[in-house]
Symmetry: C2
Subunit: 193 residues, 2 copies
């Protein structure tokens, strides 16, 4: 995703980059994603419009970069030796994000844009969704000594992220800690795995 390093000419302004990301978060936080426009990002960040267009293909890509900056890129995959505690820890971390309004706003914005722009949807999956799936898949597969399994691992992954996204996007309910226990129960039942 890194642009070819230009050895000649003026270097990219890191100040402008940060200003753009901050402005995007600021606008979404106060007025919502519907109010976000590249025009306004440029205005409120004190950056030229063309500068934004030069470095980000869409406003959603700005948001995605802002999100990755916020949640930190490398989330360690828990490895306690037991499936149940790994799972519990993974869910606890995931739901913690789901309780942070700033993060939720960004996630909702990205999901919305993915519906409207299939090219961005592809980038969103590759950059964000697949990483999270891979982490959970690792946990579920690591100590998978029960065979044959009536439910595919990929379906269990769908269940976890499905519940999370469904409640972020469709329902207005917040996450409670009981959900961690419930999902762990559901996924570690003998016949389920």
């Amino acid at each position: 995703m890194e642009r070819q390093r230009a050895t000649r000419g003026r270097a990219r302004s890191e100040v402008s980059r940060q200003a753009v990301l901050a402005a995007a978060i600021q606008i979404i936080g106060t007025d919502g994603y519907a109010a976000l426009s590249i025009e306004r990002i440029a205005r409120e960040s004190g950056v030229g419009k063309q500068t934004v267009y030069r470095w980000w293909p869409t406003k959603a890509d700005v948001v995605m970069e802002a999100l990755l900056h916020k949640v930190e890129v490398n989330i360690p995959i828990p490895d306690t030796g037991a499936l149940e505690s790994d799972l519990r820890q993974f869910l606890t971390t995931s739901l913690r994000w789901g309780r942070m309004p700033q993060v939720v706003e960004l996630l909702r914005a990205l999901a919305a844009e993915a519906q409207l722009n299939s090219a961005f949807a592809e980038r969103f999956r590759a950059t964000f969704v697949d990483h999270r799936r891979a982490a959970l898949t690792t946990i579920l597969t690591r100590n998978d000594d029960r065979n044959p399994t009536p439910v595919r691992t990929s379906t269990l992954v769908d269940v976890v992220f499905g519940v999370i996204w469904y409640r972020l996007l469709i329902l207005p309910t917040e996450f409670d800690d009981t959900l961690v226990t419930e999902l762990t129960t559901l996924l570690t039942q003998p016949t389920a795995r």
Copy 2:
């Protein structure tokens, strides 16, 4: 939601209503929801702009009415006497919609708009989401003789619709018949209910 029955004056044109819904479906089907505008709906349906604005508050409400028209309003809740077969039947019906590209496009459009417009999100939940939840809740509660349950019924409902919406909105994968069996298994395990 029904407008005050006007005893006087010209009656609403059913032809125009149908033309608007058809145009919306057509536009979304060919160019996607991002290309949908009230201006274009009016143009392609041969209807006056004011006619659209008179009857629908937003373009998303047009889409929602088009969806309800497509999936039929009254879906009977299966009642075979056994939880497992009720569930299997409910899931089979639900996934059938999820395999119809025209329906999927509309669902994705509605979900996208719900992220951008909270007033519409409310109408969407009240008109569509809650009905589907209620149906599944009925099924799960009907023969619920196992107490205490470690997983709330509402969470089981979240699991089902979560997986469906997640795969419609976030992942590009299609539904296969195995999913019906898997979800039924997950939800009817002794300790889960």
